[in-house]
Symmetry: C2
Subunit: 199 residues, 2 copies
């Protein structure tokens, strides 16, 4: 059964384990495409162009903004980050589902451009557990952890309009929920009725 791909936004607070869940989701799946962001910041140690980011100049980034070539973009501490539309559209036409790992502000831009995008928020089982995970990483001071927790609460409020909340209690369960959501979203009437009627 041939099908067109769908776009899924995956957001989540710092420390929730989103990257681990997404890596596990992609295992053994050749029907999924991970959208790599473009950025004007330079590559850090070990980062690979085209894999971690598309590293481009500020001039190139500006030209892409003017050409409306981004699904979303934003500036963080002097550098620009954005989702190039081209790779996403190529993947969708190839029938792949596209995963956008972006923040809530970016999600708002994408959703305004493309309301058929599905928005998934990866959430911790509880706030106590998120605090525990941030502490266990050992990378932040207690003040920084409190800041991250506050930011996470703001994000959760902003994400209340998302379509799905996947709880990352265990990675296995979170991945199963993601797979179920992807599968269910391909059962929507807009996709299915033309198939049944042979159009």
């Amino acid at each position: 059964m041939s099908r067109r791909g769908k776009t899924f936004i995956v957001s989540g607070p710092s420390g929730v384990g989103k990257s681990t869940v997404l890596n596990a989701l992609f295992e053994g799946r050749d029907d999924l495409f991970f959208s790599v962001s473009a950025t004007t910041r330079g590559p850090r140690n070990g980062e690979i162009d085209g894999k971690d980011y598309h590293f481009i100049t500020a001039d190139a980034f500006r030209a892409m903004i003017e050409a409306d070539a981004f699904l979303e973009y934003a500036e963080y501490v002097g550098n620009f980050y954005g989702t190039p539309m081209r790779y996403v559209d190529e993947a969708l036409e190839d029938g792949l589902d596209v995963i956008l790992d972006i923040e809530i502000q970016g999600a708002v831009q994408v959703y305004q451009k493309r309301p058929d995008t599905v928005r998934i928020f990866i959430a911790p089982p509880s706030w106590e557990e998120l605090e525990r995970r941030l502490t266990a990483r050992g990378t932040d001071t207690p003040e920084k952890i409190q800041k991250r927790l506050l930011r996470a609460k703001v994000e959760l409020d902003s994400a209340s309009g998302y379509d799905y909340f996947v709880i990352n209690d265990t990675v296995e369960e979170a991945v199963e929920e993601l797979r179920a959501i992807l599968r269910a979203e391909h059962c929507r009437p807009a996709e299915r009725i033309p198939l049944i009627l042979g159009r």
Copy 2:
């Protein structure tokens, strides 16, 4: 993780194989509840009260209508059929997901009363395949089969507002899609946010 049950309507045209799919869905699942309809018609050969239908008198049925005790009801060729609210609500409170095997007219009534109900339409892979299945049953005349096909097209049109279309190409795939939909629908923010916030 404690949760409240959800209600899922499953409709589909005659000959699509809905009963087979639902039987397979229920295998090994103790978190699902199949809603048994009440009817004023007498039991047919082998039908068991409380399993196939709740067989009740016309007076009892009328009293239930007046007490607003049905989620939906309708009359077919002189007999009444309805979904008693009580068993559904008891199951939901026990955390079970409730499956309502009802027609589109009934679905409209349930959805008006409870807009959080999820509506799933079981569809054939194509009209040619539905015709083939109806013919293969060997129970209907060609004229009757054409009538059923016409009715199925009307149903498909009426069901275009359903949430999901599950295609019964193979029973295994249809059941996997149903399971994915049930699982995905438990990831909605309204159910998840209170869990995360511990409310």
